[in-house]
Symmetry: D2
Subunit: 178 residues, 4 copies
């Protein structure tokens, strides 16, 4: 998630966000997009190929900040639309409980989940998408991978910040970690 | 769930099922059908009006046995189709974990969940349905109720066997217990 | 949770917290303390009697902010110790996923969960405590109530901000909502 | 789990169990024993070294059948005591919902979870044990492994029937899959 995008939809200028970042953990949401079959089984996992703030290319899941005054569900929908386009038709879960909580720190040794910018507490959800995904200009590509492909060593090496582990936790939650 | 229906799709005659029932707990699935809004929030709960084996009328959720050799997901789909018709378009959850497990006993004092026929261990799921529900001849009617209506005293009194509690657990799981 | 307590353990002066509160949602944790039997069943729920910022008396659960740089588990332990004393012996869950997420807003009409001070996203956990609970001076009393007592109308009327609903969601999660 | 043990505590003779096995899925429980630190984090996973019905040696988790008339919690306690001894002090979860459901079939190609004897639907739980574990004569040894050790290729190769995957799902549920 780039800050330029965030700034357009939030009430914080870049400067204000910098100040807040040093004072409290930020609330994030993350969505692991999946394709499911008629019985709800996960068939494919969607990974975004994108440029991270440090300029490197990486595969990642849908992710972004919850704004002041925004509901978690609305933040999820907003970031899904931003990353997958307006006709992806995401199916948000009924329960407000995430399948896991991921804690990102500037120091990667704390939890293994790493964000150089700040301390963030992220609520992670598995989200089936039925529609046509059209990644925005920020995301270069969306690739659908089978669970077996998503945990391959070469794919995992393209995920940073701990997202490869997050994807495996999502697959495990769905009972389809190979 | 009537035994006549079960018998048609299973490999057990009524007599054999009687014998098995006294020897091991049966595996059941239960689905609380819901209507959701675009952000995944539960808007309505679907309750079936049906005639129970003892002849009384009651409101209930989708429920039935898992057959020998049948996957839990397939049993869920089969019972949803049997009770809601072929075009209900149920959305099964990705996780194989039920939101709760309900244990039915012939003695209602054990858990509060009661089935006069047998000991059953039931995996309960919340299942959004998008399509047109056409209850089968066994279910007389399907009624969509708001969470507030579904927990009203008069509606609860029409549910037996502990199903009123199951509906409240489902609403709580979805964060919308009033 | 009073701000005076928070200020002692955090890196924010009261003024700074005021500024941040208007800019981002704060991360909170909530713990519903329970007594369990040898099979893990919830026998009693612990409710704190305390003075809220507006001077009214209310029953509440253990609650507080996650600080910058603090792990969710450490925040839970800190608030449990602050509210229940140093020998309560809380048993934190193994999973990092809360049983529900509660969103507090200054406007009570948004979610029904209300905090006049700020927008907070709260991760809620059920936490068995085995030891001797000695509420701090802020909490006047800790009362253990059976599930049936905890949902009684008079007890619910002593909980504000939506905590009565949170307690019912916790009981439902544990399968013991009466 | 050997049938001889089961037969002593159930109301089924070996012959009767054979008959029932071919007619309905059996209800099983599985417990992944863990050691936790003061903040509830999983530090070690306990694996039993045991002789399986086919004579091979394998590492496995605590597992067994739910008997007719028996509560799931009581079955969990019974199998934990049988496999870990009477002073293991297992801490059963408050929620009746398993973290996953595993479906065992005689045909290993159906789900990847394999039991040559029957179709079983197994409710899986993570169970912290605080006490001294004394595996019974059936289990030759109990080994505590770190999450990293438990998913090592050589350890996984000693688990059969899909138990290596079950252990990884348990670690993922606890947020500590390496």
């Amino acid at each position: 998630m780039s800050d330029s995008t965030e700034t357009r939809t939030s009430w914080l200028s870049g400067d204000d966000l910098e100040v807040v970042r040093g004072q409290v953990p930020l609330v994030y949401v993350e969505a692991v997009p999946v394709r499911v079959d008629g019985a709800g089984r996960v068939v494919d996992v969607g990974l975004l190929l994108r440029v991270r703030p440090d300029g490197t290319i990486s595969r990642t899941v849908v992710s972004g900040r919850v704004l002041h005054g925004e509901l978690v569900r609305d933040a999820l929908l907003r970031h899904l639309e931003k990353d997958l386009g307006p006709v992806a038709l995401p199916r948000l879960p009924q329960t407000p409980a995430p399948f896991t909580v991921v804690e990102y720190f500037p120091d990667p040794s704390v939890t293994g989940y790493h964000d150089p910018r700040h301390h963030a507490v992220s609520l992670a959800f598995v989200v089936p998408v039925d529609g046509d995904c059209q990644p925005s200009q920020e995301a270069l590509e969306l690739t659908w991978l089978t669970p077996g492909e998503a945990i391959r060593e070469d794919v995992r090496s393209e995920m940073t910040g701990g997202h490869d582990r997050l994807v495996r936790l999502a697959l495990a939650h769905c009972g389809c970690l190979p």
